[in-house]
């Protein structure tokens, strides 16, 4: 009888903990790994995946969708909504961007994203400006590995 009550208590506590953790991860901030080298040398300067960076993603910015040029953001891919990419905003609505072929104006409600490593990055030069509503968070710091802990600037 005692062990059944104990298991029930553990289940209740982990359920509550899980819900609180999920809310903090959605509303406050979360830590995500960075894959690929499209943001070298800001993130993942080496090609070895054992040393992949983990970054802190801030979610408070999703309240009003206020972003600025230079922010590094996590967003859902416009071609496959299950994929998440990390790139830097280089163009805000109304600005003109010179892409590979011509000069393009960023429409209202959209932004132009590019990776820091232009030679190895799938970004707005391929799929065009992305709506701001696809952004899932803003990257503020690198938190792992310890020797690379730093704030990510503009």
């Amino acid at each position: 009888m005692g062990i059944q009550k104990l298991l029930w208590e553990v289940a209740k506590k982990s359920f509550a903990g899980g819900i609180i953790g999920l809310t903090i991860s959605d509303r406050c901030c979360s830590v995500v790994p960075v894959r690929g080298d499209s943001m070298s040398p800001t993130m993942n300067p080496q090609k070895n995946s054992f040393f992949d960076d983990f970054v802190l993603v801030d979610k408070f910015c999703l309240k009003d969708y206020k972003f600025a040029r230079g922010d590094v953001v996590v967003f859902s891919s416009p071609t496959n909504f299950r994929d998440r990419y990390i790139k830097r905003i280089v163009g805000m609505p109304g600005e003109w961007i010179s892409s590979s072929r011509d000069v393009v104006r960023v429409p209202e409600g959209h932004c132009w994203v590019e990776g820091d490593n232009k030679y190895s990055s799938l970004d707005s030069r391929t799929f065009g400006p992305i709506p701001l509503g696809l952004i899932r968070g803003r990257v503020t710091r690198v938190v792992w590995p310890p020797q690379r802990v730093s704030k990510i600037g503009r």
Binding site: D26, P107, P131, G133
Partner: protein
């Protein structure tokens, strides 16, 4: 009966405050998870979905479960985050999914000119039921799946129209 000393009064009071704080935190987190992962109620108004929705206001129930596991289908009424302003969440109907070839009248108020497009991969074409007064994909283009917030399921108010919201009869015959 001995009266409690002042130190144990404060310890009891602080324990009560912590318990209430924890309860409120758990309640807030539970509400957040329910409205973001299960379903939410929405108040919809405006002319763009006449005759399906009343322009003066409806209370609707929307669900967020199907958008995670399957693609939206033609005829669904969805809430999207507007590609023109991420702070607005208009409600429109899905007319075409990726790969469909859609022909539509660009501006019924001005002319009969129509346009034909192919919906790109990962996008849907949304349109209001009242095409004469609706800003939708005819203006801002097809919308990526990532902008879909949820699918409308049920109308709660006005009570005389209480019931499911689904594809229009013309969609069913397609």
């Amino acid at each position: 009966m001995a009266s409690p000393s002042s130190s144990s009064f404060w310890s009891i009071a602080s324990r009560q405050a912590m318990n209430s704080g924890l309860f409120i935190t758990k309640l807030y987190c539970f509400l957040h998870v329910t409205t973001n992962y299960l379903g939410f109620m929405a108040y919809a108004y405006g002319p763009s979905m006449i005759p399906t929705l009343h322009p003066s206001g409806n209370v609707l129930l929307a669900e967020r479960i199907s958008k995670r596991y399957q693609k939206p289908s033609r005829g669904d009424i969805v809430v999207i985050r507007s590609p023109e302003n991420p702070n607005k969440t208009p409600i429109k109907r899905v007319i075409g999914i990726e790969g469909d070839c859609i022909s539509f009248v660009v501006d019924p108020l001005k002319s009969e000119k129509s346009q034909t497009i192919v919906v790109p991969k990962g996008h849907v074409f949304v349109q209001g039921d009242y095409t004469h007064n609706s800003r939708d994909s005819r203006t801002f283009g097809p919308v990526p799946y990532g902008l879909i917030q949820g699918r409308m399921l049920w109308r709660v108010w006005p009570f005389q129209d209480f019931g499911p919201l689904g594809p229009t009869p013309s969609e069913l015959t397609n």
